[in-house]
Every structure is written in C-alpha cells, then in structure tokens.
C-alpha cells in the first residue's frame, strides 16, 4: 500500500461541466502521475508532476489540466467534460521497489470511474 487515495471513486456528469479529480498521497513522494485507462489502450499518461508547481504533459493531455500546490495533492481538471473523456482514471506515484533492486517504479491508487453523459 503506497498510501494513495483518489476522490471521488465514481462520478457521473454531463457534457460541458467542469470536473476535478483528486489524488492524495501520505508519503511525500516527489513524482505523481495521472493516467486514463480505456479498453484496448492500456494505461495512457495524461500529465505528471515532479514537484510542487512542477508539471508536464503526457501523451493524451488535450482537454485536461493539472495542479499541484502541495506535495501530497495532485489535481486533474477537465475544464469542459466530453463523452470521449469517459474512462477510468488512475493516479500513481513513483517510489522505491519493495524487496527488489534499489530503483523506482510506479504504484497506483484505486482509480476513479468517470462517466460523461
């Protein structure tokens, strides 16, 4: 358990409304990530952060923005939700592998299922 929580866990919204998803971690990790998961596409990186107020785009960043004002919180915002953004969203952190080589990997939060009608 990497101490990651996501909220809300489920959300249904309408096209055109703004939506913010929250990722919260308790272990002071520097790197945080937002992915979306769709059938047939695996996990695709939306945005990531390498420190407070330091963020960068991933491969599918159009229509999304992020903010990180505190180490523990990484927010993903859909300014105007569209049906194509219906997906499962996972937050992840980068941390040392447990019981393995001294290197980092990513650990995932429980996910948020978002439906845009």
């Amino acid at each position: 358990d990497a101490g990651i929580t996501q909220s809300p866990r489920h959300k249904v919204t309408e096209t055109g409304t703004p939506v913010t998803l929250r990722c919260h971690q308790t272990e002071n990790h520097r790197y945080m990530y937002w992915y979306r998961q769709d059938p047939g596409h695996g996990l695709r990186l939306i945005h990531y952060s390498y420190g407070v107020k330091d963020t960068d785009k991933g491969e599918v960043s159009d229509g999304y923005s992020v903010s990180r004002s505190k180490t523990e919180d990484f927010l993903l915002t859909l300014e105007s939700a569209t049906s194509s953004q219906t997906s499962v969203y996972f937050c992840a952190i980068s941390a040392r592998t447990s019981g393995g080589p001294s290197t980092d990997t990513q650990y995932f939060g429980p996910g948020t299922r978002l439906t845009v009608l």
């Binding site: 996990l43 990186l45 990531y48 996972f90 393995g100 990513q106 650990y107």
Partner: protein, 108 residues
C-alpha cells in the same frame, strides 16, 4: 512510444504454462511488469533492469533481452489467482509507457 504486447489474450487450465511478450522499438533500460484484476488498480509485479536477468514472483518469472529490446513474462504451473490483465511498462525519464495488456484467464 507504446511497447507491443503479445498475445492479446490467453486461456489456460490450472497447471499450464504461458509466455507473454513485450517488445519496443526504442532502446530499453528497464521493463516493469504489472497485473490488474478486474475492477482493481494495476499491481506492481517486478522490474527487470539489465539484459538476460530473470526475476521471480511466486511462479511468475521474467527475462529481459536488452539487445532485442524485448521482455518476456513466464507464468509457470498457472493457478486460478493468476487470472487478470498483465501490462509491461517501459521507462523513459521517470515516465512509463504501457503496452495494451494481455488478458490471462485460468480455468479449473
């Protein structure tokens, strides 16, 4: 660029073996393997750091051929608990690119 996984799906009976392959068009420095059960988050299984190295997790092991830019995951004497979708991730500067996944179904 996303790594390519094969096969897309495999069905096994308990006790059978399977191999999942992951290949990349870019040079690989590490390969990360995850398993995801339906409705749950991906769970880290193991990381391969250098060519030819094998790692194990229960009876699940993996190899990494740096030269061929490939990694393979071996499910040996499969158990019902091995069912799920397996993803490989290739690393690039603290970011991971994931394959589309291989769905494994183990039947009694």
């Amino acid at each position: 660029q996303q790594p390519v996984q094969s096969p897309q799906a495999v069905i096994l009976r308990e006790g059978e073996d399977a191999v999942i392959n992951c290949s990349s068009s870019k040079a690989l420095y590490s390969v990360h393997w995850y398993r995801q059960k339906h409705g749950e988050a991906p769970v880290f299984l193991m990381i391969l750091l250098k060519g030819g190295e094998q790692k194990g997790h229960d009876k699940i092991s993996a190899s990494f051929n740096e030269k061929k830019q490939q990694s393979s995951l071996y499910l040996t004497a499969s158990q019902l608990s091995y069912s799920g979708t397996y993803f490989c991730g290739t690393e690039d500067d603290y970011k991971l690119s994931f394959g589309a996944g291989t769905t494994v179904t183990v039947r009694a």
